[in-house]
Structures are given as structure tokens and as C-alpha cells.
């Protein structure tokens, strides 16, 4: 556990480059933030409360999920369950970055995780699959996404009428389309395609038959099991010492 373990070198210029790399997608995040700001105002949150929630929670789907439970009173436990279930994908996302994160001292490691969200994680995971260690995108990309989310929320709170119907422009699909480009930009070996099929079928089954919001974790773990039992032939090369059984 000496400092020598923590070999990851952050480069300020790469953080800046990743900030600008995710700037285009952040413009769409502004539109979503505006939709959230409008919805939260309609549920009776004050402007500052809405903006505070976006700044500290920074997880859009779960914020919308919590709004669904909003009223003059909110039941705490159901709200916690909804927020946890929707955000439980973060558990897997964080875990998947661990081979890189272990090269970073714990304080900074958890600091990075404050900015973890779907888009910067997907970019980071794709780079990792292509052999590039890029935690800078978590910082720089996360920062631009976070600012866009807050800015969008403020826009929606104060000028909600600007975008009444973001779906008409397909804006609700930005994140889905972005994640799809990240998936297709990665490796596509037979092993990965089998894992994807298992993930897709499991996610659909969970979405249909399990309680709401569990399909991402179920599908991802099911896909992961394929990787657990079917190793990429070259993945073990040079690391035989670590695999003693």
C-alpha cells in the first residue's frame, strides 16, 4: 500500500481535452436538465431547491424518479429504494473502473467517483477496452456534464416554457444513442456478442417480470457471467502469475 502503487499520472491538458470532447453531448444534457427543472418546479420545488438537487445528486433518471413520489409529504423509504435502484448501475460502473482506479490514491479515487455518470463512464470504459487508460475523461467529461446538468436545471426552472416538448426533437434519446455508439465502438469478439445477447435477454426479462429499475444490474451481471467463464484467450497472456487457479 505504498505510494509507489499509485502510478496513475493525471495530465491537466488531457482533462481539458476530455472536457471539450464531451461538450457536444453536454449541450443535450442541458436540454434534459431544463426538462427536469420544469418538472421539479411543477412539483412545487423552489428554484434553489431544484438547482441544489441537481448539483448534489447529479443523476437525472433518479431525480425524475423521486419527483414521481413527490407530494405534500414524501415517504422516505420508497424514495430511497427508487433512487438506489435507478442508480445501482453506478455500483457496476465504479467496479469496472477499479483496475485503473487502484492506481490512484483513495482520496482522489473517491473524489473522481463524485463525477461518475453514464456518459463519461461509457467513454472511459470504451477507451479502456481499446487499451487506453483514461481517467481524465471522468474528471474533465464529468465536470462539463455536471455543469451542463446544473445550468440546464436552472434554465428549466426560470425559463421552463422554452422547451415544452423535447421528445419532438428526439432529445430524450440522446443518452441512449450516445451509449449505443460507445458500445459499438468497443471490441466485438464472439465472446462479447454472446455476452451482449445474454445481457439483452436478461435485461428484458428483468424489465418485464422483476420489480422496476432492476433490469440494468440484472442484465449487466448476466453478461458479466459470460466473461467470468469464457476468458479472452490473449487476456491472460503475461499475467499468468496472478491466475494461480
Amino acid at each position: 500500500m505504498s505510494g509507489a502503487h499509485y502510478s496513475y499520472q493525471f495530465q491537466a491538458n488531457r482533462v481539458r481535452a476530455e472536457f471539450f470532447r464531451l461538450l457536444p453531448i453536454s449541450l443535450f444534457v442541458v436540454a434534459f436538465g431544463a426538462a427536469f427543472g420544469l418538472a421539479s418546479t411543477q412539483e412545487g420545488l423552489s428554484p434553489l431547491e431544484s438547482i441544489l438537487m441537481s448539483a448534489t445528486v447529479f443523476a437525472g433518471a433518479s431525480q425524475f424518479g423521486a419527483l414521481d413520489l413527490w407530494g405534500t409529504e414524501v415517504s422516505v423509504l420508497p424514495m430511497m429504494v427508487v433512487v438506489f435502484a435507478i442508480n445501482s448501475r453506478h455500483l457496476l460502473m465504479g467496479a469496472s473502473l477499479y483496475p485503473m482506479l487502484k492506481q490512484v490514491p483513495p482520496g482522489r479515487r473517491y473524489g473522481l467517483m463524485l463525477l461518475l455518470t453514464d456518459a463519461n463512464w461509457a467513454a472511459c470504459a470504451q477507451d479502456y477496452q481499446n487499451g487506453r487508460h483514461n481517467l481524465e475523461v471522468i474528471v474533465g467529461g464529468g465536470l462539463v456534464l455536471w455543469l451542463a446538468w446544473i445550468f440546464g436545471t436552472a434554465l428549466g426552472v426560470y425559463f421552463g416554457g422554452l422547451m415544452q416538448n423535447p421528445e419532438a426533437f428526439g432529445l430524450d434519446m440522446v443518452l441512449g444513442c450516445f451509449l449505443l455508439t460507445m458500445a459499438l465502438g468497443g471490441q466485438k469478439s464472439p465472446r462479447v456478442l454472446v455476452a451482449w445477447s445474454v445481457a439483452a435477454v436478461s435485461a428484458l426479462a428483468a424489465w418485464k417480470w422483476l420489480p422496476p429499475n432492476m433490469h440494468v444490474v440484472v442484465g449487466a451481471l448476466a453478461g458479466g457471467l459470460i466473461g467470468l467463464f469464457w476468458l479472452e484467450p490473449k487476456a491472460g497472456a503475461g499475467k499468468e502469475v496472478a491466475s494461480d487457479h
Binding site: Q63, V74, N87, L114, M173, V192
Partner: protein, 103 residues
């Protein structure tokens, strides 16, 4: 237990949401610090990582409207053909907008 949505109540709810979300952001990393990374574990988390994307996207395509499906198909086809994310996303959004306009 319920919390009234007074000013103090809303702040408490936001604090609770923040803590729950932080647990999800930190939890996976924390648990992994007890796991020894060998090729098998690495294979598991790499396959799981790309499966996260599929598990988000597929129910979105199946459960959404025709516009959602059009967006994902158009994005997928363009991405496979060009390997350029931004043009692919743009084509996807246009497809969704067009399908919804016509519907």
C-alpha cells in the same frame, strides 16, 4: 416514515438522495478494493461493463415508442458504417424526430 415538503423537509430529502446516490458511486469501487484482480475477474468486469450499455439500451428500444426504436436503429447503422459517434447520434435524433412528426 414520511417527510413533509417544507423548506427544511426538502433539504432533508435532497440530502438523503445525495447520500444514497453517493453510496452507489462509491460502493462498487469500495467493494472491489477487497477483490484480487486476476484475469478471470478482469474478464468478468470488462464483459459486465459493455453489458451495462446493452442492458440500458435494449429495454429502451423495446419499451419505447417507434421514435425511440428508429433513433437507436439509425444510430447503430450509422455508427457501424462510419464509426463516428457524433454524426451517428445526430442521425438517430433526426430519425426519432421524423418518425414522431409523421406518427
Amino acid at each position: 416514515m414520511t417527510i413533509e415538503t417544507t423548506s427544511a423537509g426538502v433539504l432533508a430529502l435532497i440530502a438523503i438522495m445525495t447520500v444514497v446516490t453517493l453510496i452507489t458511486r462509491f460502493g462498487g469501487v469500495f467493494l472491489m478494493s477487497f477483490v484480487r484482480i486476476n484475469p478471470r475477474v478482469e474478464s468478468f468486469i470488462n464483459t459486465m461493463a459493455s453489458s451495462v450499455l446493452i442492458a440500458i439500451i435494449v429495454p429502451m428500444a423495446v419499451g419505447g415508442d417507434l421514435g425511440a426504436l428508429a433513433a437507436l436503429v439509425a444510430t447503430g447503422v450509422t455508427m457501424l458504417a462510419t464509426r463516428k459517434p457524433l454524426p451517428s447520434i445526430t442521425v438517430g435524433l433526426l430519425a426519432a424526430a421524423l418518425v414522431r412528426y409523421l406518427a
